[in-house]
Amino acid sequence: MPLLEIKNLSVTFKTAGGEFTAVDRVSLNIAPGEIVSIVGESGSGKSVSMLALMGLLPWTATITADTLRFNGQDLKTISKKQLRQIIGSQMAMIFQEPMTSLNPCFTIGFQLTEALKIHLGMNRAERKKRAIELLDLVGIPEPQKRLAAFPHQLSGGMNQRVMIAMSISCNPLLLIADEPTTALDVTIQAQILDLLLKLQKEQNMSLVLITHDMGVVAETAERVAVQYAGQQVEKQLIKGLFSDPHHPYTQALLNSLPERSTSRILPSIAGVVPGQFDKPVGCLFSPRCQYATELCRSTPPVEASPAFGRALCHYPLAGGLPTNYPEEVSA
């Protein structure tokens, strides 16, 4: 039985200009101890889908799903109070900006031990002991001293370590890391990723890694879901994704990796993710797709077979070339 089961999760926001669908029928299963990555550009609804799962979206969001199960509990039917007992303990999340994700008015120690108090009911001495243990676990030197420090006295990397310590404090079954390295220096990024992977292995927790960095995906995940404009466009094992992408968007993402570049000018995907007012009628990627045909522009594609990574494409790629394509193309 999967630890997390999401089927057809959609999130719409009420805005002044009407309804905006940020997440469109996303499905995801995660087994215990598994690492899954969600990739896509900014605005593709990666974070929103996970925030919806955690119940952290503002009231302007409407969440619908066929299935939303975590560890045997139906998240669709449980009360807000019951959800609060799950998040922060069994299911935890870390965010992109460590410097702003910690409260400037409270000490590291206070923020670190809050979850221990409400979820595990530990007393003061136990909490302090556990806090020191956690800071040590995430590689913060002199943890005893750091407990009394305020977030602004630590660096971004250190703060992200504190965030990680905070999220794993109650030994969660699932950790969602929302672009945990994006705001950090490149040298620190690798350290934080290594730390997350080490902890994932030690605690045998499932890890969802949200990122737009294909390099990060390659180093960490076992399975990948590629998301574009709120839709999942492809789901694959990491190996297959890099060697044989089935969706043109995945291919374009991989082609824009600097290390894969063959020309002197770095390739990029022209255009931006469509927003509320410029959503295409057909395939959402069609305006930016090099293979787009009249069919793509007029009719939304259906999901391809698992052999094609469930690609949301009229002409899923195989070996780098579109299949059933009406015209001749050269790779």
Binding site: L56, R84, I87, S101, L102, N103, Q111, H152, M163
Partner: protein
């Protein structure tokens, strides 16, 4: 923290000096002089007038008078009231507890209702409650104090007869002041009914005086709260599984309080200004009413001394507020 204090004090001293000058010049620009007003309608001869002016030292050039006044102040002497001949400081200290009690109660009302109203309005942005609070705040802020005071007197004292019209306590009760705060003294006196009499005298003026600060605090709390609620650390707090009370009442409020505290500090000055009108309307025997009377009597030394002391109190309260920031916001504490 000590250096921070010293630096703030360095700002206060020049300000205090400026206030002496303003107070000194301002009262002398008013037409008439204290001697003429003391003589009343009967008037007095020019010789007698000149003699009295000389007695008070008003015949010397203004600049000399100011110099002498500063010298006096440097010795901690605020001078004597021209009309009552009592030391200004003594008069001020006798009347100040009444104003302090009124202002404190007004502020308590303002904070006690303004803070939660702003908080709830922010968490339910766009709701009926939010609109009601914001409309109410705007109305309260725009309403002239004297008119609002009279409305309340007409309704509660006149029509309903619930509260007395003026004074601090019913004439039936008498006891020696211990703290100067009528609420506390009436309790200490042990006289039956004294406390409730003091409360019924205090409640209307405190509401009138507290209305503008209440409106300002509610609006400021709402906007500060709205800003803070969209911060990442509030999301982090919720992601921990904390309940809304803890997220809003602790994580968000602590941060939202920083601008709100500033506004509360600034309202102290507003309170003293408002006390002048409120005390006059309710015949409240405090320094506001005393200042108005002193101005009418051209009691130079009382007006000067009163203005200086009020300014000093406002400045020191604001200094205390500044120090309070440091306690709430560690970032300020560590950079200064």
């Amino acid at each position: 923290m000590f250096l921070y204090f010293i630096r703030k004090l360095g700002v206060i001293l020049p300000t205090f000096f400026g206030v002496t000058l303003v107070a000194f010049v301002f009262i002398r620009t008013l037409p008439g002089d204290p001697v003429l007003l003391m003589a009343g309608e009967r008037g007095m001869s020019d010789e007698r007038h000149a003699a009295l002016m000389a007695e008070f030292g008003f015949d010397k050039p203004i600049i000399v008078q100011y110099g002498l006044y500063l010298k006096q102040l440097a010795h901690g002497d605020f001078g004597h009231s021209i009309t009552t001949r009592k030391p200004v400081l003594e008069e001020f200290l006798t009347l100040f507890p009444a104003t302090a009690e009124l202002s404190l109660c007004a502020m308590i009302i303002a904070v006690f209702f303004g803070l939660p109203a702003g908080m709830i309005a922010a968490t339910r942005r766009g709701s009926v409650f939010d609109h009601t609070v914001m409309t109410g705040a705007l109305t309260g802020y725009s309403m002239p104090i004297f008119w609002w005071g009279l409305l309340l007197i007409i309704f509660f004292s006149g029509i309903l007869g619930w509260t007395p019209v003026s004074g601090r306590i019913s004439l039936l009760y008498y006891f020696e002041p211990v703290t100067g705060f009528m609420l506390i003294d009436s309790l200490l006196s042990g006289q039956e009914g004294a406390f409730s009499s003091a409360v019924s005298h205090l409640i209307l003026p405190a509401i009138v005086l507290g209305t503008i600060p209440l409106a300002v605090i509610a609006r400021q709390t709402r906007s500060a709260m709205l800003e803070v609620l969209s911060e990442d650390y509030v999301r982090t707090a919720r992601a921990k599984g904390l309940g809304p009370q803890r997220v809003i009442g602790l994580h968000a409020l602590r941060n939202a309080m920083i601008p709100v505290i500033t506004v509360i500090g600034l309202q102290i000055g507003v309170l003293f200004a408002g006390a002048i009108l409120t005390e006059t309307i309710f015949s409240w025997p405090g320094i506001g009413k005393w200042m108005v009377d002193s101005i009418f009597r051209r009691d130079y030394s009382s007006v000067q001394g009163g203005l200086l002391l009020i300014a000093a109190i406002v400045m020191f309260v604001n200094l205390a507020v500044d120090l309070l920031y440091g306690l709430i916001n560690p970032q300020i504490r560590h950079t200064d």
